[in-house]
């Protein structure tokens, strides 16, 4: 490359790290490169992979929803915060989808994705909505900023409670993903809680709007605390967390925040079957996946 030594930025580039200077999650290695992905004794690999899809799909879908706020957020600080939260969740999704792929849980995606597409992308881009295991909570449209923060508060509170327990999982990969994720999720929960406080106890308009946001999010709690058969078997094997076990903690955190925010705490919804975990979704997910997957599916033989 003739003359390259003389470029104005070249020295800067070398002075600051060269090839190793890639931001986290943007390097060339696949997410689980170098990790021992052996399935622990007595654990069903298909169950483990399906559970990783549940946790991974929640993160992927919520990351996509938060990303919709980028260039539309109330303040530049919030642009940074919302992008950061989305990046954290995207990172969690990549690890979890890669873990599912590592134990051979790929659904129908491999019939559509070419060989060169890594597992995480096969799962993210080449599964149809009925193969997703996310919950209605993360799939719902954003609504306004108040509703978005109310949803993030609920989602981060539930996920943090689950991840804190998952650090003890018998699957070392899942335990490591959880150990990393709790720090991120604690920040997400804190960030959302601060906004719910400001909006709840801000102006009459913000109070009204964030109350409406909380009320819109609340019914989605119904399907979050019922375990699927997959989860029950994995709880018995010491791998998964029973969602029913985190219900009290979630209720306490949400009640505390909403009380302090001078918001009304609605009656806790009765448990329903975990529809999203079983692959039943509304049109919001289909639309979200249409945008997420469109380009990758147009060029199934491409590498990016």
């Amino acid at each position: 490359m003739v003359g390259h030594q003389e470029t104005v930025y070249d020295a800067l580039d070398h002075a600051h790290g060269g090839e190793g200077h890639w931001a986290f999650g943007t390097g060339f290695d696949e997410p689980l490169a170098g990790v021992d992905t052996t399935v622990p004794d007595g654990v069903d690999a298909t169950d483990l992979g399906s559970y990783c899809l549940m946790l991974g799909d929640d993160a992927l879908v919520l990351a996509q929803r938060l990303t919709q706020w980028v260039t539309a957020a109330p303040e530049l600080e919030e642009e940074v915060a919302v992008a950061n939260t989305a990046l954290d969740l995207l990172g969690q999704a990549r690890l979890l989808l890669a873990r599912a792929g590592s134990v051979g849980v790929l659904g129908r995606s491999r019939t559509l994705a070419t060989e060169s597409v890594p597992d995480e992308d096969a799962l993210a881009y080449f599964r149809d909505p009925d193969e997703f295991r996310s919950t209605g909570l993360v799939e719902a449209d954003n609504g306004d900023f108040g509703q978005t923060m109310a949803r993030l508060l609920v989602a981060a509170t539930v996920r943090l409670a689950v991840f804190a327990r998952l650090r003890e999982s018998r699957d070392p990969v899942l335990a490591a993903i959880a150990a990393k994720g709790v720090h991120e999720l604690a920040y997400h929960r804190d960030h959302a809680a601060r906004w719910v406080l400001r909006l709840g106890d801000g102006t009459p308009e913000s109070h009204r709007r964030v109350q409406a946001g909380v009320d819109a999010v609340w019914p989605h709690l119904a399907e979050l605390f019922t375990a699927t058969d997959v989860e029950r078997r994995l709880v018995a094997a010491g791998v998964a967390v029973d969602p029913a076990d985190v219900r009290d903690e979630v209720r306490e955190v949400l009640t505390t925040v909403l009380d302090r925010a001078t918001l009304r705490v609605r009656e806790w919804p009765a448990d329903t079957p975990p529809r999203g975990r079983l692959g039943e979704h509304g049109p919001e997910l289909t639309e979200l996946l249409g945008t997420l997957q469109g380009l990758a599916r147009q060029h199934p033989a491409a590498t990016w």
């Binding site: 490359m1 003739v2 003359g3 390259h4 003389e6 470029t7 104005v8 930025y9 800067l12 580039d13 600051h16 890639w22 931001a23 999650g25 943007t26 992927l60 990303t67 919709q68 980028v70 260039t71 539309a72 957020a73 109330p74 303040e75 530049l76 600080e77 642009e79 940074v80 992008a83 950061n84 989305a86 990046l87 995207l90 990549r94 989808l97 597409v117 890594p118 995480e120 992308d121 881009y125 306004d144 900023f145 108040g146 400001r198 909006l199 106890d201 801000g202 102006t203 308009e205 913000s206 709007r209 945008t291 997420l292 469109g294 380009l295 990758a296 060029h299 491409a302 590498t303 990016w304």
Partner: protein, 320 residues
Amino acid sequence: MSAPTLDRPTDEAALQRQFEATIAADRRVEPRDWMPEGYRRTLIRQIAQHAHSEIIGMQPEGDWLLAAPSLRRKAILLAKVQDEAGHGMYLYSAAETLGADRADLTDKLIEKKQKYSSIFNYPTLTYADVGVIGWLVDGAAICNQVPLCRSSYGPYARAMIRVCKEESFHQRQGYELLMTMMRGTPEQRAMVQDAVDRWWWPSLMMFGPPDDDSPNSAQSMAWGIKRHSNDELRQRYVDMTVPQAEFLGVTLPDPELRLDPDTGRHRFGAIDWSEFKAVLAGNGPCNDERIARRRAARDDNAWVTEAATAYAEKHAGAVA
């Protein structure tokens, strides 16, 4: 800044001499130092324009965030767009050290009283545009900005050091995407060439009008705000980019582009300045859309900022 008060001259002529001595000695002017009004105004204008460019510049690439074709590419792009928001923040802060106010500058942007780099008024038609923006647009921005790390105004110079580090990183990521696409399918290679065809000339225009038609340049150079002329920086950019294009395997869309064996520099064709002026005047493909999105972010969320202010006032003095 820490000099005893007794040493500080108070009459304007003496202050002016001290300012000129600072510039002549290539030292930095700091926020509390005296500075001529013209210097302050020029800096606010330039830094605000630069900050606006970072924030508006989030949009063309941001349009691909939801549709990025792999999770790794999505993470890279999200991190990059987030960096741009961060750059906007440092730069607005630098402008605030001169007495400007971020909200007021944002209003001026939305009311089209202040400009941003006209490059961001072009649309991003394919995913190759994300790579080409990283390679060419960030590459041109780096050529413009590295000398600003030595700008005479301290806060601006320091902000630019951090901005340039991150920009050089973005440029490499863009180039790496293009390398990957050039190794991909024929459709991907065609996308890359098409994007290069569309972005090459606008990227040359990023250096501003030619030196003989750049009214503010001489004063900015005398003040040490600017270090090199527009044409000089443009030439460096071309010289730097041509070998990179060859390595990538794309053709730059200029039949007159060739290496001058006598000077070792590249000669290139005439730039269509009427297009530059039209886009700058607001008639580019996406000017209205870019400003409308910024306006919507401000107006649709005004209730959120009002609430945050009201909450802060209610809880002033309380420990968070």
